[in-house]
Amino acid sequence: MQQVLLKAIEVATQKYGASYAEARAQKLCKTMFTLEEERVETAKQGIESGVALRVLVNGAWGFVSVGSFEDDILFTAVSNACIMAKTASQQLKNPIKLASAKVITDCVKVKPKKNPADIALEDKIQNFLQINKTIQQYDQRIKSCTVDYLDLIGSSFFVNSEGTDIQQDKLFVWSRITASAKSCGIFTFSREEIGATSGYEVFETQFPQDVGETVARRAVAQLVAKTPKGGKAPVVLGPSVVGVFVHEAFGHLAEADLALSGGILFNAMGKKIGSNLVTFYDDGTIPGAFGSFKYDDEGVPVEKTLLIKDGVVTGLMHNRETACKFGTQSTGNARAEDFRVEPIIRMCNTYMAPRDYEVKELLDGVKSGYFFKSFRGGQANIDGTFQVGIQEGYEIVNGEVGAPVRDASISGNTLEILLKVDAVGKDFVIDSGRCGKGQTAFIGDGGPHIRLSEVVVGGSA
């Protein structure tokens, strides 16, 4: 495989004068199914193979993706990429340059305890049908439950014109479990996701039936919940909400491409934007976590990047192009969903570092507010406004967790909200999730329980 990729790169550099060229080939096998109540919607298996060719000619990018490994198709593709890059460079004022990167030769093998490829599809389906059974039997008010399952196994090959040559195994397992409940005209909805890069064993450490029960319990409990009162309130956030909060309210802004496009962190290095308790990392090196890998899709080793330390901005997430613009090195955050798309800057596992509070102490400080335990989606804008939806929340009255509230959300602006972090717990959890930025990336996010002295809570009451 590497031989033909190397030849394609040679065409780019020698025939078309490309200053940089890379070829990224993938062979992926996916297994998927969807269970709706006791029905298996369809069991699915897929093969996706192809090559992404990216070249830099006269300071502009050319990119071509093809679903083939054949010599002549790849040579035509790389020629097209070079001609297209040349065309794109015609009106370029600021040519693209790449920060230097170490030349790497490596072969990365995954060693799962349980390789999903070794488990019969039938057994996977049977295992997950148990979850739906658990959910349906939990309460007669449960109206539906859906399990989506995916495992992805494959290998990727990366070579570039600087001599880097990496072969890397890929392995992801993922599942999403949802349930809906209905009673007296009230509809509720609940969701959990499990994901890992370790192996199928993750479904044995996090027992599917327990997850099913969590999802079912939440859907049913919400039937009696009330809508929260809209307005400002102190809140305690659970690790799952903190993870999404870090991801949305800060993480996207710390992606160097967004910072460059006019984002609020463009000139923020060294500035204090949060309370002393705010320390955030993006870490792609956590073994088995959903957002972990060894080399990114530009062949750069992934890092543990300190983004904010004690409230002061200390770093951004880079690819080689943005690193050059900021005069630094890539942090290994260039990721591509597959060979059909180019690598862009994505988070890996983004989290808040724990401190020293017990959860009870966090709650004790709140007279009247909310405890938001689990999230349902979130979104950010470049000006620092963010929103995180809540799927499980409770009132806090005099430091005690009280009645459940339904369909709340929190919102605000990053530059104000990080200063409102007034206590941080000592516990720590990382969740698995997916992030959309044109492409889908598997990510992790998390942290401890935290308290915000004040945040805008969206509610219709």
Partner: protein, 455 residues
């Protein structure tokens, strides 16, 4: 550009079905896709990238003892690969479970003889030079609006797609189409003030997009949201643009009218056909044959003819949308709403061109008819709405305050909360300025009694 011809695409699909039948399956279906996309990308005010993606593949569904298995591959020029994919589909079916409600693939239906405005051979001839020219025009149009405008990102792309579907119940179809699209995201920066990213786009099935308009509109929107004020927390009137509507409806109302949601008890509309469920000012069709519609096609993901389905007539719920499976379960016929993500997925129910019928008022007329309210452009977090109950709690930005029929200032930090199904009961006026955003074709809409959380 060398594309697979109609007969080659159909032959590939027929071959897969034949191989499957020989292997003893009771039914088989093959879905072959080919997509070409050519894009010019803009980053930080300049053109930096030119890309081309060619994607082909085949997805095969087979049925054994009423259990469905599916497999796909993007290697289509190798006879062994087709054989292999059938074997994989078969093994998936065997690992699956019989479904008592399975009543066979869709049968052959006739397709409309002429489909208006879905294919323009000129789009196939557009070179990257022309895409570059349009991109530069768009950038220039934006920065000429104001010195504070920053062009964050955007691009121009053209695409061609073709599909062939063949099944063992006599379905055999081929369709092809083109699309061209340009989009620009801008913001404005003045000192320390940064606006949210303002986005505008234009998309069409023929060569009729307007990059100048896109550049100007995106820039105007960001400049005008530089100076903002806070608004009061209260219950008020909203004027919703297509972007806001698409976001709100896409995660709630669209689900509520899908037959699978209804059958599984996930829709508040279950058992309410014939009842008034929303404001009498709303009439809505799902129209898969809408001339020049972005999602207009000859047939759906199962080879069933696309059609125009009346969903809501003056507020009264008339129909749900069906694929083959959910329709047969109720002894009905599919409404041609099986949607597929290319060769990679099995069909699931989806809207096509979801058309909210326009009324008489222009955008200016709508604003003039509001004494006190907000004009809402984009929403953040609509995907965190409760898809079953329709409850939402989102951030709106940019937003304009409307007072006595005039736009008076831009607002920030505005949250909206409520229930989309209640909101749809309070639709007061429907405009005439319709356009397509995603699958939604709609004008601006005025709704009353929405909770706004401000300062």
């Amino acid at each position: 550009m060398v594309v697979l011809e109609k007969n080659e695409m159909i032959a590939l699909a027929e071959k897969a079905v034949r191989v499957a039948i020989v292997k003893g399956v009771s039914e088989a279906e093959a879905y072959v896709c080919e997509d070409y996309a050519s894009d010019v990308s803009i980053e930080l005010g300049q053109i930096t990238k030119n890309s081309q993606v060619i994607d082909r593949g085949i997805g095969v569904r087979v049925v054994v003892n009423k259990a469905v298995g599916f497999a796909y591959t993007n290697i289509v020029n190798d006879p062994v690969a087709i054989e292999d994919i059938v074997v994989r589909a078969l093994s998936a079916a065997k690992a699956s479970k019989s479904d008592v409600n399975w009543q066979g693939f869709a049968h052959k239906t006739s397709y409309v003889s002429v489909l208006e405005g879905t294919f323009d051979s000129k789009i196939l001839e557009i070179g990257s030079d022309e895409l570059m020219y349009m991109s530069q025009t768009m950038i220039d149009s934006a920065v000429q609006i104001d010195k504070n405008v920053i062009v964050a990102e955007g691009g121009v792309g053209s695409g061609y797609g073709s599909v062939a579907v063949v099944n063992s119940s006599g379905v055999c179809g081929f369709d092809r189409g083109t699309v061209i699209e340009c989009s620009l995201a801008t913001l404005a920066k003045d000192g320390n003030r940064v606006t949210p990213v303002c986005f505008e786009f234009d998309a069409a099935r023929n060569c009729s997009i307007d990059p100048v308009w896109v550049g100007q509109e995106a820039a105007k929107l960001s400049v005008s949201s530089l100076k903002t004020k806070l608004v009061e927390t209260k219950t008020t009137t909203l004027l919703l643009t297509q972007f806001a509507l698409q976001d709100l409806l896409g995660h709630t109302l669209f689900n509520a009218i899908m037959a699978d949601s209804v059958q599984r008890g996930q829709s508040p509309f279950k058992g309410r056909i014939g009842e008034k469920v929303v404001s009498e000012n709303l009439t809505i069709y799902d129209d898969g044959l809408y001339p020049y519609g972005i999602n207009t096609q000859l047939f759906d993901g199962e080879g069933v003819s696309r059609q125009k389905t009346l969903i809501i007539d003056k507020g009264v719920l008339k129909n749900f949308i069906y694929d083959n499976y959910t329709a047969k379960k109720e002894g009905k016929v599919s409404t041609g709403n099986a949607s597929r993500a290319g060769y990679l997925s099995t069909p699931c129910i989806g809207t096509t061109n979801f058309h909210i019928m326009p009324d008489a008022s222009s955008a200016d007329d709508l604003i003039r008819q509001i004494d006190d309210g907000l004009l809402i452009y984009y929403l953040q977090g609509a995907h965190s709405s409760n898809p079953v109950s329709g409850e939402f709690s989102v951030v709106a930005s940019p937003v304009w305050k409307i007072k006595n029929g005039d736009l008076v200032f831009a607002a920030r930090d505005v949250m909206l909360a409520g229930n989309i199904f209640d909101l749809l009961k309070n639709v007061k006026i429907v405009g005439n300025n319709e356009r397509q955003v995603g699958s939604l074709i709609a004008p601006w809409i005025v709704v009353e009694n929405v909770r706004v959380i401000g300062k």
